[in-house]
């Protein structure tokens, strides 16, 4: 196995690469359905982000532990089944302890199963690396995703209702931009944010 030094840098790389360079929403452009659907406010965005981190970490860990037992042509269905199990757990938890959030997120929680991010990370990382690297990669990517969701949710919530996380932040005379609550606001804001990310980091081929 590799010596201690490279393992150390490997771990740091696994943890941080998902935050910016391979940020799933702004750079890799995968898993775009939740960013548009649940970011009408910061609270659901945060809930969705945390759920994705949970599912990512658990499924990456399990897949990494099982990686030597996976037959190549069956692996996608195996990944999906493992992910589906953890998403079911997450959905039941949300329905029991946070019913209001669960109502708001609706069918988008089970849709985490088909979220491209999780399958992509399983394929690209967990099926090829040890458990610790996989967990760190999951935390990094999940956090990058959550940050992206919260930025989008924050912009939309502030412009649409003048509040951030249900706390009023805009001055009293602010006229809310109703369009931000609607699909238009979602698509256009995300498009502009990805454009900004391209400006900041150089254009990446989608």
């Amino acid at each position: 196995m590799s010596n201690e030094n490279t393992s150390g840098t490997n771990y740091i790389r696994a943890l941080t690469i998902g935050l910016w360079q391979e940020n799933p929403t702004f750079r890799l452009l995968i898993g775009m359905c939740p960013p548009l659907a649940v970011t009408t406010a910061v609270a659901p965005a945060l809930t969705m982000g945390l759920s994705v981190i949970f599912v990512l970490v658990c499924s990456n860990l399990v897949i990494s532990l099982l990686r030597n037992l996976l037959k190549p042509h069956l692996r996608i269905i195996m990944f999906t089944l493992i992910i589906a199990t953890f998403v079911t757990i997450c959905d039941l938890y949300l329905r029991a302890f946070h019913p209001r959030m669960s109502e708001m997120l609706g069918p988008y929680v089970p849709l985490i199963i088909v979220n491209c991010i999780i399958i992509f990370r399983a394929e690209a990382c967990a099926s090829k690396s040890g458990p610790i690297v996989s967990i760190l990669d999951a935390i990094g990517t999940g956090t990058g995703f959550t940050i992206a969701l919260c930025i989008l949710g924050g912009i939309r919530e502030i412009l649409a209702t003048g509040r951030f996380f249900e706390i009023p932040v805009m001055p009293a005379g602010f006229v809310p931009w109703a369009a931000m609550q609607m699909p238009v606001g979602a698509f256009v804001t995300l498009g502009l944010l990805v454009g900004l990310a391209n400006l900041a980091g150089g254009t990446k081929r989608s």
Binding site: I76, L81, V114, M182, V184, G191, R205
Partner: protein, 188 residues
């Protein structure tokens, strides 16, 4: 919920934000887009009907709802396998042009989303389920073809460098949703 409603008024791409990964990835050319749309329609109709049948006749009577997501995903994966085999046998050039995207349909949000929404809407007869499933697929096809047509022309337009590719597609999609909102309220 009606057939036209699910194609136009409640289009799955524009109002429910589903199916965006293939939407952004494939909608560069009209003929590929149309082919993908038809493949998705085939899979949605098949999966919608099968998952509803399983839910109605197997899961609910035996109180196994907790396995719902797992069952749905297995059925969808099977349906996509079927479509893949069919396309490979009868339309080989189309199969080659799809590449990685055909198996990727099994992770397409539209299909699982459709099965979940049929559950939520509480539809309880087979004909309605079939029509809604087919309609959703056709709505996706409509959305992806409109996008492909616009994108073909946008190649000649003067798009700022940082907005090229996905960002301008997203902004265009946003304006399309605005246009489709004009249909809201026409049909329930």
């Amino acid at each position: 919920m009606g057939f036209l409603s699910v194609i136009i008024v409640n289009n799955f791409v524009f109002t429910k934000f589903l199916g965006l990964c293939p939407y952004l990835g494939v909608s560069g050319r009209l003929d590929t887009a149309f082919g993908m749309g038809l493949a998705v329609t085939f899979v949605t109709t098949l999966s919608g009907v099968l998952t509803w049948l399983i839910d109605f006749y197997v899961l609910t009577p035996s109180h196994l709802e907790i396995t719902r997501y797992i069952c749905y995903i297995v059925v969808i994966a099977g349906a996509v396998q079927l479509v893949e085999m069919y396309v490979r046998k009868f339309f080989p050039p189309l199969y080659d042009s799809f590449g990685i995207f055909l198996p990727l349909i099994s992770t397409n949000c539209v299909i699982l989303g459709l099965c979940l929404f049929i559950n939520i809407w509480g539809t309880n007869n087979l004909l309605e389920v079939t029509i809604l499933s087919a309609g959703t697929g056709l709505g996706f096809t409509l959305a992806i073809c409109i996008m492909a047509g616009i994108r073909e022309n946008m190649k000649l337009a003067d798009v700022p460098k940082s907005l090229e590719g996905a960002p301008i597609t997203l902004i265009t999609a946003g304006l399309l949703t605005l246009a489709f909102m004009g249909f809201a309220g026409m049909i329930r």
